[in-house]
């Protein structure tokens, strides 16, 4: 045990001697969480819309006024010809268009069916669909205004409540996701370099001839990073509470313990990468190149996991961040306890155990 502490101390020296890296390690997550917390939102605002008004009557005027009053749309310019839509879409200057045929208001007044055309640039299907929904909702609103429904018989009136996030604040979803993403990448990369650096520098030989079990060499390397990552987590958490106004509805201690478990699982993954690669460059490329996109896609904070084909859902289960994200949402935002997240916790714990075992085992075989 004493020997182990000596090793841990040596590793601490290594880490804390490099001030610039430390600065980067604390500075970057802070900036990222602030940047993404404020900037990322899937809510659509101010989308450029082209209005082609061949009718030019009171009805079309009223509808255009309603569209321009909504926060979703910016009317780019009126008085367009149909061809301009194509040109503007190609330039990326607008996302959708609304075409009023001549006689729109007349048809409506005479109790006939008035035509209206919504055209979207569907290269981005998500935006196209959402904008179509917003436009349709505005048209429905307008129709209700001219066709009062107040005394229509047999009305079903849906009353909607938004749980946990009544203001539909985008950062509620993104902050826990970015938290999981940032911690995952940083922790994995940190340890992935640690062993391979000693291999590359030749100092590993010295460690291996010492009368010291290789297991401890590996573990001692992970300890300083564990401390660093936990400090990082606390900073990120404080920021999201103070700056991004995220609530902490559940038990803080539980949240902290879960994060520690998550951090350990990522560090173990890094150790595994480190013991199977031969150069720092390769180790870092594997942990960055190999982890970044999958972590963004499979954590579930941008794309819903349940939309994915089954094999991909299974792959997503292999990522620690996917489980941590669920835990953070449950504990932090929903205020739930271990009674609800015990399953996710067990999965994380199991993963950590497996990753640690494999990395220690594969480290040993390299000794022989």
């Amino acid at each position: 045990m004493k020997q182990f502490m000596v090793f841990v101390r040596k590793e601490f020296y290594h880490v804390f001697r490099d001030r610039r890296t430390l600065l980067i390690l604390f500075g970057l997550p802070v900036m990222q969480i602030l940047l993404f917390g404020y900037a990322l939102t899937t809510e659509i605002k101010n989308a450029q819309i082209i209005i082609v008004d061949h009718a030019g009557d009171a009805a079309s005027g009223k509808l255009i006024a309603m569209i321009s009053a909504s926060k979703y749309f910016n009317i780019s310019q009126q008085a367009y010809a149909d061809d301009d839509i194509y040109t503007d879409f190609k330039k990326g200057a607008a996302k959708c268009a609304l075409v009023f045929p001549a006689g729109f208001g007349n048809d409506l007044r005479n109790g006939q069916v008035a035509q209206l055309q919504i055209i979207t640039d569907a290269t981005d299907p998500n935006t196209a669909k959402t904008l179509t929904n917003y436009l349709t909702a505005i048209v429905t609103d307008y129709q209700q205004q001219i066709n009062p429904t107040a005394n229509i018989p047999m009305r079903i009136e849906p009353v909607t409540r938004m749980l946990y996030n009544p203001a539909l604040n985008g950062s509620m979803n993104f902050v826990p996701g970015v938290m999981a993403l940032v911690l995952m990448i940083i922790c994995t990369t940190l340890t992935s370099v640690s062993i391979v650096r000693e291999k590359e520098m030749g100092t590993m030989e010295i460690l291996l001839v010492s009368p010291f079990k290789p297991v401890y060499v590996v573990l001692a390397k992970a300890v300083p990073y564990l401390v660093l990552a936990m400090v990082d987590f606390v900073i990120i958490l404080l920021l999201s509470i103070l700056a991004l106004e995220m609530p902490v509805r559940g038990n803080l201690l539980l949240l902290f313990m879960e994060s520690t478990l998550f951090i350990i699982s990522c560090l173990s993954l890094g150790l595994l990468i480190s013991s199977v690669t031969r150069s720092q460059q390769t180790a870092m490329m594997v942990s960055m190149m190999g982890m970044m996109l999958p972590t963004i896609l499979f954590t579930g904070f941008i794309f819903p996991l349940e939309n994915m084909p089954l094999p991909l859902q299974l792959i997503s289960n292999l990522l620690p961040s996917r489980w941590f994200y669920v835990i953070v949402k449950a504990v932090m935002l929903k205020g739930l306890g271990i009674g609800v997240v015990w399953k996710e916790t067990l999965v994380l714990a199991g993963m950590t155990l497996v990753l640690l075992t494999i990395s220690i085992k594969s480290f040993k075989t390299r000794l022989a």
Binding site: Y38, A39, L116, T123, P125, P158, I186, S279, M284
Partner: protein
């Protein structure tokens, strides 16, 4: 010229000697391009619904059946109380609770109106918003159906508006058309950005840079010698990806390939200049990697691929405009999906050229000062 050729030979040898690195540069991105687009689907089409039915009438049964047959909703369970339904939401097993109060049917017939209550897990605001909007539409349809059954007379008054929809450039609303080109850009960006960021600093760490510094190589020759091999790697990776997009996803660029490749060529110079710049400032590979990670993550998340740039606050839009990736993803989509021409992407081209000049100039200027 001969100096440059020798430098290039050295760099290429170094890259191809590292057998661990090659699969990471060429195979891993392609595997990701095969898998990732399948995962990237925003479509909200799988909403789990917990139903709390306190009425148990014919109407509530018909209503739930109609919701279930819409294709958007999966009925996760029926409850007679709110609490167990809320538990489903807490455990992420349900997204929305539909609560039908007691006497729903009686109220609807006798009082002429009845309320139903929706409670959505709004941590993911998009899903909650779209889900309850869908549900509202279905409820509205159901409402009309039963009304028509009871009072089959059309209400007098103004006309109705019939909305037709057309979705240009991607009429089937296929997500892959949208994601594959974007993900290819990200993959090329990661390979190029990381590998360039690590390179000069690696020589610093290994001490080999001293040997180069004592030779009469000019700064720009050195930087160019570093840049060209990675530029070639980027070109190869991109071409492989384009072939994959063609044969696996059936995506064939509508616009000119020449235009696409000219843009790529400039883009890669800008990106690699950026990587080399990071490298000249860093003291070791770990530092370089983290700085590169920091910026590339910003490039990725703010590029408009995952989250549309239009929705961001003004200052964030400025940041998005100042990242080379945003413009390339834009241009990639425009050329591949819309067949846009040079005139359409002129602005993006100018941005990219400016990035290339500034970043590389800076890297050349900064190199050796710190070495």
């Amino acid at each position: 010229m001969r100096t440059l050729r020798l430098l290039l030979e050295k760099e290429f040898r170094q890259i191809f000697r590292d057998k661990g690195l090659l699969p990471v540069i060429f195979v891993m991105p392609m595997i990701q391009l095969l898998i990732m687009p399948l995962a990237a689907n925003f479509d909200v089409k799988h909403i789990n619904l917990a139903v709390v039915d306190r009425d148990h009438s014919t109407y509530t049964q018909q209503m739930v059946a109609k919701i279930a047959s819409s294709g958007y909703f999966f009925i996760k369970g029926y409850y007679t109380d709110y609490t167990p339904a809320l538990h489903q939401v807490e455990q992420e097993k349900a997204d929305i609770i539909l609560e039908i109060p007691a006497h729903f049917e009686r109220d609807l017939v006798k009082e002429n109106k009845a309320a139903v209550y929706l409670a959505a897990d709004a941590i993911n605001g998009t899903k909650a918003g779209l889900g309850s909007a869908y549900l509202n539409t279905i409820l509205g349809d159901f409402n009309n159906e039963i009304r028509m059954k009871w009072l089959p007379v059309k209400m007098p008054g103004a006309g109705t508006i019939d909305v037709t929809y057309s979705n240009w450039f991607n009429p089937n609303m296929n997500y892959r058309l949208y994601m594959v080109p974007g993900i290819l850009v990200l993959l090329v960006t990661m390979v190029g950005g990381f590998i360039a960021a690590l390179n000069i600093v690696k020589e610093k760490e290994m001490g080999t840079i001293e040997q180069i510094n004592v030779t009469p190589i000019k700064k720009w020759q050195f930087i160019l010698g570093k840049l060209i091999p990675f530029w070639v790697i980027g070109m190869v990776d991109f071409s492989l990806g384009l072939l994959l997009a063609r044969f696996v996803y059936g995506i064939i660029p509508l616009g000119s390939l020449l235009l696409l490749y000219s843009f790529l060529a400039v883009y890669l110079v800008a990106l690699l200049g950026f990587g080399l710049l990071i490298s000249t400032y860093s003291a070791n590979q770990l530092q370089a990697m983290f700085v590169a990670f920091f910026f590339i993550m910003i490039f990725m998340l703010m590029s408009g691929l995952f989250v549309s740039v239009d929705n961001m606050p003004g200052w964030a839009k400025v940041i998005a405009k100042l990242t080379p990736v945003t413009h390339f993803i834009d241009v990639m989509r425009m050329i591949v999906l819309k067949g846009s021409r040079f005139a359409d992407i002129k602005m993006q081209f100018l941005y990219e050229i400016a990035f290339a000049v500034v970043l590389n100039g800076w890297a050349i200027w900064n190199y050796r000062k710190t070495a």
